[in-house]
Symmetry: C2
Subunit: 210 residues, 2 copies
Amino acid sequence: MTEGVPQGERGSAAEPAAGGGRTRSSDATRAAILRAARNRFAADGYDRATIRAIAADARIDPSMVMRYYGSKEGLFAAAAEFDLRLPDLSGVPTDRLGEALVSYFFTRWEGDTTLPALLRTASTNPSGAERVRQIFATQLSAAVARMVADPTEAPHRAALIASQLLGVALTRYVLRLPPMVDIPPTTLIPWLAPAVQRYLRDPVPTPTLG
Amino acid sequence: MTEGVPQGERGSAAEPAAGGGRTRSSDATRAAILRAARNRFAADGYDRATIRAIAADARIDPSMVMRYYGSKEGLFAAAAEFDLRLPDLSGVPTDRLGEALVSYFFTRWEGDTTLPALLRTASTNPSGAERVRQIFATQLSAAVARMVADPTEAPHRAALIASQLLGVALTRYVLRLPPMVDIPPTTLIPWLAPAVQRYLRDPVPTPTLG
DNA sequence: TTGGGAAGTCAACACGTGTTGGCATACGGT
DNA sequence: ACCGTATGCCAACACGTGTTGACTTCCCAA
């Protein structure tokens, strides 16, 4: 599942020579395919992003995609391989963690199409959804555990944070709701930060009756 | 676009007699198709939901779907035709609007698959996304305008509310993040209500520098 | 100079899709 | 009893998909 390479032992011992001629190096082609795949998956989602289109963007034959990544699923697995790259927020005062998280969210994702790509795919493709759940559990939930008072509550609180932040990603990057698209991050941050801050640090409220 | 019926003038003047035999009434079939379509679109999204599968669910031939709804797009248009059915909240004290909105959200959508259907489709299909934008503008934004102090700010504030509420819909109904799925609405409501309340009624915060 | 292997191309396959038109069947008014 | 018509089914179409295998071209090491 991780190693989907049928042939071509990576790295041919000699220097790649950064081909500018007719045949480029294997790694350059792989990278070109990956870049095209990320863009197409981001723009169209898993089903509508065709291997032919991706190959055309990478100026390569569709069969090369198969040779390098085995299958469309394998290509997606490679394209959606990503880190939230959550920074170390241990130096941030606890009452400003929400703001730090929200403003990091925008610096990380404005201009990067990987998140919408993942969201578009996960909405339709079961293995895409599973991937989101993994990222949530291993990355966000783990990071949140370091910011909350009681680590037991981390998944719970991380889910609430995800609901707000993925909601922003959905409305701003995927659905492109006009108001959400037009508001600049600097305006959005002070709106969103208190919500995230509360999910992070406020005491658990008492459930409503009935 | 709205009237996609090729033939069969709705309503045959006589009573339909609720056919239990071999041929059911036209309206019953239409309804069966629509119900199956909603479920399939909800479960699979626009692309993966095939007309053949929908027809099979409705125990009908695929060609009937075409006759009644013209095309797959037409079928989706009919299936995604929905009201948020936002209630009149004019009797609710202004400091409890957030809670009212959030608890209504759950009573409206728990057990109804139309929202995830729309979200799944809108993530991939441009006309699905357009539909969401319409619903946002004509229904949510309009309702929010009646709840805020300055109606000028309604789209702005409605977008923030949408980001939180659609984020919940996404994580709970579409991605099915385990913690989000497990938490009961009665616990979720007091978590989410303050955020929505703030988006609704709090003064506009000052943007962050830089 | 020559051979091996990697990089890339081409044409085709098997399949599933939306969509279409023709054909059978049962209903309801006369 | 009859016939028009609505209801439904069947077979097929044109097309786009992921995927495969054989073929050509180029580079690099003996």
